[in-house]
Amino acid sequence: MAPNETGLQLRWSVLYGASRGLPVSAFGGVGEPNATRFKAIGLPGARAQLTLVLVIAFIWSVVALDVPGGLVHSGGIDALGEITSAFFTPDLSTDLLGTVIGDAWTTLAFAVAGMTLAIAVGVPLGVLASGVLQTGGLQRLGVMAGARSLLALFRSIHEIVWAVLFVAAFGLSPAAGVLAIGVPYAGILGRILAERLQDAPQEPLDALRTSGASETEVLFYGRVPSAAADVVSYAFYRLECAVRAAAVLSFVGLGGLGLRITTALDDLAFERMWTAVFALVLIVVGIDLWSALVRRRLLR
């Protein structure tokens, strides 16, 4: 599948489509004849079945829900009111803002450090998993299967579960935080990279081969350029996820925005909590904008 070249801005749909199993072409409308996009009105066979399955699953989940102690706390409604009104009056005192900026930096730093580890581990594993460097043979299949299983294991476990495990293993160490982000994100980045390298359009690669390029040269001059925009966008999206993860990792003793949020909640100081939450929102929006700028220039 060719990388989607129509979206000039960062399109999340493109990012999510980047993993195989999603019909990438459908999201940007590339190569999808209009006829297939419009017959959904009558919900033909397969789609009707799917709708039915999803609706039944949701009804099952509601029925299976067991609420022994009632839905809402005794003071729940009051708490909702306080949390909502605090949203409009966040604590913007200079003292708190200074602390929150420091916390935001801690959170961002752990996210970036975790991502560097994820890239350092995920890129080599992803190249091995794609099997584009070796030519044929059992050895190639073995390497691919090994790299793929390792990547799958890395990404099967959520970053916070990794964090809990690493803290249990290492104690409260910065290594636990960096590894907790780096390991699962290496698994995801490696998989996306492998798929994108394999899915590079064949014609330019064959042209390189006929002009005498080795597979390594084909990788760098053929496959990498065609995969670059999507993989870079995906890495940025993962950085955004890493910021959220790093914020939450403070629960395991790393400081940062999450710790600020929990201590504010412990004191029922919802105004302070929203200030920290807004800092998180600002980081996420900033990464989003930077990513959109880079993607636009990579695709132009």
Partner: protein
């Protein structure tokens, strides 16, 4: 490559900033004092080795939890709770996103009048806010309002994923083909009819594909939310770790990974139906 050179100032600037950010971040990480062993100390790695041995049952007498049928049954029941939480969350998030997505799309709501554009901006701001805050933090807030349990966890997961699905949905809606809508309009269709006959049929297949993909993510995350929402595998994991029941931890991890893999397989099968 030529075109890369033409756009050089931006890439040079971006790369320099990135290098600076990475260097400063690692400096910050190494400076972090958590009171535990240092980042690369041998003490930290020795402890990690001990922990792995404990998971395999080195420090417990008697048969490890993952060799006991009763323990498996309990863990599978908790996995069922986790599954209920994830489906409930995906359903609520999808309903919320579908109900609001028309107001977040500039080609439907934001055309012409100022109020429409304002509405688009407000709904999109809500999407950004809900998705910027991680599920676990939403869970901490939600348990102030709802009784801790499966529902509280599901609501926390739903709030975050509402923002994610809303943003994805708005992008799909903005990419739709305008021709059938124009022809519906010219044959006198009202706004609601336009939505149901012009927009939704185009949007739903892609939306469902994303929803299934998000459901995989939600299953993974429901364990984390369970840590605070006092439900499912997550809460049990926390208890077992707190009481040093390491083989139980190992069992829960096995069940968790199996659950995630099973979810992926079901999701792939369902996505094939969506095409």
């Amino acid at each position: 490559m030529n075109s890369l050179i033409r756009r050089r100032p931006f890439f040079v600037g971006s790369s320099l900033f990135l290098l600076f950010l990475v260097a400063a971040s690692w400096a910050r990480v190494f400076a972090q004092d958590t009171g535990g062993p240092g980042l690369l100390s041998t003490e930290a790695w020795r402890r990690a080795g001990d922990f792995m041995a404990d998971l395999a049952g080195a420090s417990e007498s008697g048969s490890p939890a993952f060799a006991q049928w009763d323990a498996w049954r309990d863990a599978l029941r908790l996995a069922g709770d986790t599954m209920v939480m994830s489906v409930l969350a995906a359903g609520m998030a999808a309903a919320g996103a579908l109900a609001t997505v028309a107001f977040a799309s500039s080609n439907l709501a934001g055309r012409g009048w100022v109020g429409g554009r304002l509405l688009v901006a407000v709904v999109r701001a809500v999407y950004v806010l809900t998705r910027a805050v991680p599920e676990l933090v939403w869970a901490l807030i939600v348990v102030f309002i709802l009784t801790p349990g499966i529902l509280a966890g599901a609501v926390a997961l739903a709030i975050h994923n509402f923002g994610v699905l809303g943003r994805l949905g708005a992008e799909i809606v903005e990419d739709i083909d305008e021709a059938p809508i124009a022809s519906l309009k010219s044959s006198g269709a009202g706004r609601v009819q336009l939505l149901f006959y012009g927009v939704l049929p185009q949007v739903l297949p892609q939306f469902v594909t994303f929803l299934l993909y998000r459901w995989e993510v939600i299953v993974r995350t429901s364990v984390v939310v369970g840590l605070v929402a006092v439900a499912g595998l997550g809460y049990e994991l926390r208890l077992d770790l707190a009481f040093f029941r390491y083989t139980d931890v190992a069992l829960l991890l096995i069940v968790y990974v199996l659950l995630v893999w099973a979810t992926d397989l079901v999701s792939i099968a369902l996505r094939r139906l969506a095409r």
